[in-house]
Amino acid sequence: MDVRSRYNVVVTGKNGGPVVMLAHGFGCDQNLWRLVAPALAEDFQVVLFDHVGSGRSDPSAWRTERYSTLDGYADDVLQICRELDLQQVVFVGHSVSAMIGVLAAIREPDRFAKLVLLTPSPRYVDDAGYRGGFTQADIEELLESLDSNYLGWSAAMAPVIMGNPDRPELGEELTNSFCRTDPRMARVFARTTFLSDNRADLEKVTVPTLVIECASDVIAPREVGAFIHAKIAGSRLVTLDAVGHCPQLSAPEATTRAIASFAADS
């Protein structure tokens, strides 16, 4: 299966414009960019995709071992860039995808023009001298929540979700039509996301970097934003007057402005 269908790659926007690649985080898929992508598409060539195990990516590409580290995801990002021959990429990573972008940019710095880290965190679990905001027990609690909420997912609906609607009547019954994920894969992604520690990778970033945080975000609190800003030399930090972990939904205009002005800046 080719790269485009494996990662459900969607390319829109200005042909020949600077490339902005939008990477979704844990919990959803490229739909999360729906309020931001159209405005960015006016000036940029926008590349959207779904991580393997999320959205409409190819479920047969799933390998538990590969996706048990963020390196597996970073490798996918580089593969998409190579296959689509993307150069001078402005990589925008939301949440866990911010660290996926960091890893990709360390491995192939020439591929990337800039990094935008949207509500990032290099480590969610507290550690000596570092406050990520969560304990190991909290992460187990999240896994329990995942187990009791197979939103929009059931084995019977899997064919529809995987884009094989031999039972089209099921399509109408789907309530949560966005961000459907096979719960087994979501569990692995959740562990990979919330139990990774990428603090040591931050200072290896050589690509110009913008950190965007929200004024109030339970998942990526402001001290974490400040930590990243301090570790990545020359990085910029923007604090949006927004609440929650997904400013591309709660404050789409401000988020678009921050991304676009940094991406266009030369």
Partner: protein, 419 residues
């Protein structure tokens, strides 16, 4: 909804003189919207788009042990959740609600003022203004203590079932390995290769093979298929394998080996529960520039000889019956010479019985396999096994049964050193 009132008045209203019904009806009308909101059998919560609590009903306050002033204008909805619930809310609930305008039936845990947890089911909708702008979020909360206990039991049962299944699969894989040699021994002057295709990870298959020395440079080889699947078949496979080895050590003549296996299967299993297998047994004797193979078969598909000159043929052993069925089964042998560039291919019927067209029920068959072999020849043992492996992979789901294949080839470049 009106349960507890007892009697629901007809649509024409109370009849004259029926004082009781009239009283009930009036009482119903006096159930104000206000009271219904405050003391509804569920929690109500209205928040701003950022989750800040703007309105909350008495039922929810009572469940959580908060006063109105504790919450309104001071706390967000997510503040009422456990930490794991907050993570779920931020990564799933809030984004979905934003995108869809509603989200329903989400299981979360609320944290009460005294620190206790209340399992609930949460449904939220976004209320829009007349021009379609989102204004606020309305949330309904149901007490789900009993339901969640039950669901947790279901979940635990499911996790246990998953674990059991994994355990079974690893047990099956381990047992299956004990029925096959871990690697084929090296036979001087002969290249060997084998492949075992497992059709099901839950069930033991009944195919087997082995290759072993018999002294004086002679080798024994067998490949077979026990009827059935699962533990019973595996027991027969195990017995068959060791009997063949022992019988060959006692008398390596292929007809005698199969005769002895037949006798043992007959002795072990009663005639009202017969167990049988098909097996091809070969005695390999080196002779100059190759080997003479004496083959005897008990009801097994004929071996294929892929010759150095590019031709291929079945090596039939007529009259060989299934082993283990009849008390005095007769087996016959055939002799094949294999020299430089020749490859002998043994296989089980999982290969020829594979469905090539699932919808039409068409199977691969002997003729197609012969054509495949003729196309392939000349080849090597590893080349033949690679081709069979690819063929099975191409059949995919069409391979319904376990399939074993074993190839023996005399390398084309082999030059006998003068002794």
């Amino acid at each position: 909804m009106m349960s507890g009132i007892g009697h629901v008045p007809s649509s024409t209203g109370p009849e004259n003189g029926d004082v009781t019904e009239e009283t009930i009806f009036t009482a119903l009308l006096e159930d104000s919207a206000e009271d219904l909101y405050e003391n509804a059998p569920c929690g109500y919560l209205s928040t701003l788009l950022d989750g800040q609590i703007a309105k909350v009903n008495t039922t929810l306050l009572r469940w959580l042990g908060y006063t109105r002033d504790d919450l309104v204008g001071r706390r967000r909805f997510a503040d009422l959740l456990t930490v794991g619930g907050k993570l779920y809310h931020e990564t799933h609930f809030a984004p979905l609600l934003r995108m869809q305008g509603e989200i329903g039936g989400v299981a979360l845990e609320l944290r009460a003022a005294d620190g206790s947890q209340l399992p609930v089911l949460v449904t939220s909708t976004v209320k829009n203004s007349a021009d379609g702008r989102p204004l606020l979020i309305r949330t309904t909360i149901f007490d789900a203590r009993d339901r969640r206990t039950y669901e947790r039991e279901l979940l635990r049962a499911r996790q246990e079932a998953d674990l059991e299944r994994e355990r079974l699969q690893s047990l099956v894989a381990t047992l299956q390995r004990t029925l096959l040699p871990p690697t084929l021994l090296t036979v001087p002057g002969l290249e060997t290769a084998a492949y075992y295709h497992t059709a099901s990870s839950d069930q033991l298959g009944g195919d087997f093979y082995d290759l072993f020395p018999l002294g004086d440079g002679r080798w024994g080889v067998f490949l077979g298929d026990v009827a059935g699947k699962g533990p019973d078949a595996a027991a027969v496979t195990s017995l068959t394998r060791y009997t063949l080895r022992a019988a060959a050590a006692y008398d390596p003549d292929p007809v005698a080996v199969l005769g002895n296996l037949n006798a043992v299967l007959r002795q072990e299993y009663s005639s009202d529960d017969p167990r049988y297998c098909t097996v091809i047994y070969g005695l390999l004797v080196p002779d100059g520039d190759g080997f003479t193979a004496t083959l005897a078969s008990g009801g097994h598909p004929a071996a294929l000889l892929l010759r150095a000159d590019g031709t291929a043929d079945y090596q039939f052993t007529p009259g060989g019956l299934l082993v283990g069925i009849l008390p005095d089964a007769r087996f016959t042998a055939t002799t094949v010479r294999i020299t430089g560039g020749d490859t002998l291919l043994l296989y089980t019927d999982g290969l020829t019985e594979a469905l090539t067209d699932v919808a039409a029920g068409a199977r691969y068959g002997d003729e197609a396999l012969l054509a495949f072999a003729a196309d392939l020849a000349p080849t090597t043992a590893s080349g033949a096994i690679r081709a069979v492996t690819d063929l099975l992979a191409a059949f995919g789901e069409g391979v319904e049964d376990d399939t074993a294949a074993l190839a023996l080839g005399v390398p084309a470049s082999l030059i006998q050193e003068p002794t």
